[in-house]
């Protein structure tokens, strides 16, 4: 803001581009919002940030205990669950966070100007930090269950980047809907639960009967979770055929979400 910035409401820049420009200009805000999320989340708990690691560990223990009889034959089943769970948690927490910060924190939008996409972006940013922390128990569990990390793990950040694109796109799209229909917030929670059980997170995809395979391939999350697990749990490089559907889905969702969000975002202050 050192040079004279000029705001002209009649400027004819496409909204999608304008928002991108502003989000870059306010990048320091992004950092501050992520920092606030991380700092305040566990402010009053004794174990603090450790909960980010303990939470998926606890889930993993329960799930592997309950389902070990059914899916126990899966090699390193706890590591299998945990690798899927942490990325699913990233997805569900980030999208929910994007919706909540826009709908409930939207009072801010009526008072001062900030790029509206900052809230969605920061929710995904916080999610990435939490996921990075949850990586610590994952490595420990993998070593303990005899499925140690291989060199292929260096591919995981690429998988995560695509996952984050999809998450941001969907988070922006749903938060736009939630501004107009508050019921969407509740509806989305139910959808998330169903979605998790329809995606091979806690069970291997091999248990799905052949006649339902088509259904599995219609689920965008299937490709993304697979691309995440391959370099980590399976320890092999993804093939091109495994890579491109996930990449196309992620980038497609991001574009759809971004354009939908920015086409409506000028109305938010009138609606929230």
């Amino acid at each position: 803001m050192s040079q004279t910035t000029i705001y002209d409401s009649a400027q004819l820049i496409p909204h999608a581009l304008q928002e991108l420009k502003e989000a870059v200009r306010y990048r320091h805000l992004l950092y501050q919002l992520v920092r606030r999320d991380i700092l305040t989340r566990y402010k009053r708990s004794y174990l603090g940030v450790a909960w980010t690691m303990l939470n998926p560990l606890g889930m993993m223990l329960i799930l592997s205990f309950v389902f070990s009889n059914i899916f126990g034959a899966t090699r390193g089943y706890p590591a299998f669950i945990l690798s899927g769970l942490i990325v699913w948690n990233f997805f569900s927490q980030s999208t929910t966070g994007a919706i909540n910060s826009l709908v409930w924190g939207g009072g801010l939008l009526q008072r001062i100007y900030v790029p509206r996409a900052s809230f969605g972006l920061s929710a995904v940013g916080s999610g990435v930090i939490n996921l990075a922390l949850a990586f610590v128990p994952l490595v420990i569990v993998m070593v303990a269950t005899g499925t140690p990390l291989k060199i292929t793990a260096v591919f995981a950040p690429i998988s995560l980047l695509l996952f984050a694109c999809f998450t941001l796109g969907l988070g922006l799209a749903i938060s736009t809907l939630a501004v107009y229909f508050p019921d969407v917030v509740e509806m989305y929670q139910v959808i998330l639960l169903a979605w998790m059980y329809l995606t091979p997170i806690i069970y291997p995809e091999t248990v799905i009967p052949v006649k339902y395979q088509l259904l599995l391939h219609l689920n965008p999350m299937y490709y993304l979770v697979k691309l995440w697990r391959l370099p980590l749990y399976d320890g092999r490089w993804p093939t091109w055929g495994e890579f491109w559907p996930a990449a196309a889905i992620a980038i497609g969702m991001l574009l759809v979400g971004w354009f939908f969000f920015t086409s409506k975002s000028d109305e938010f202050a009138y609606r929230i």
């Binding site: 803001m1 501050q32 019921d183 009138y270």
Partner: protein, 252 residues
Amino acid sequence: MVEAQMTQSEHAIHLEDVSVRYRVPSERIGTFKEYLIRWLKRQVQMRKFWALKGITMDVGRGEIFGIVGDNGAGKSTLLKVIARVLRPTKGRVVVSGNVAPLLELGAGFHPELTGQENIFLNGALLGFSRREMLDKFDQIVDFSELGEFINAPIRTYSSGMYARLGFSVATASNPDVLLIDEILGVGDETFQKKCEARISDYCRRGTSILLVSHNMATIEAICQRAAWLDHGEMKLMGEPGAVVDAYRHKER
């Protein structure tokens, strides 16, 4: 194009036939199902009302401009349009330079964070970069008179301390445009004097001020020009004494 550049250099704020329309649903429609049914029946009824109607005005550099009017006359909407919170339904708004909105002091403060952490968060919300905040930090703490409390969570602050910190951050950097909704009741009398001193100091350095107030004496005393808004329309614009007089007469 040449004309546009002229306006930018001469005026800090330039409004051209600005109108804002709110669409208020006559009843609240909260669910998809309901919306869908009504949409099919073409019954989504919106009560439309114009909060601002064809406002044209300019505020020069270093000018103090007052706005008077009844509640609901569109004064706050006008400030929001200039602060970029609302995009005008019609017309054009041009603001050159950075805007410090003193509409809501401490907007976005988080109660669990310390004063110091909140300074950086609030500064970022106002669009300052990290370096600018590092440069201004000491001065902000000084001005807020919070002393040791700067390291305590903000939930432990009194409302006066809260407002003082908010004012200090919002005005830390020399803004080109200052938007003030109602004169600030910040802290005790000494601190208010300090706020006023800072504002008039900025004014001398070329900051333009848009001031909304119900206090006619203030408007007459400090503004160079004033405008009277009534039901979203510009009733009168000109010399503050005349505007205040006209507004008072209407009331009677």
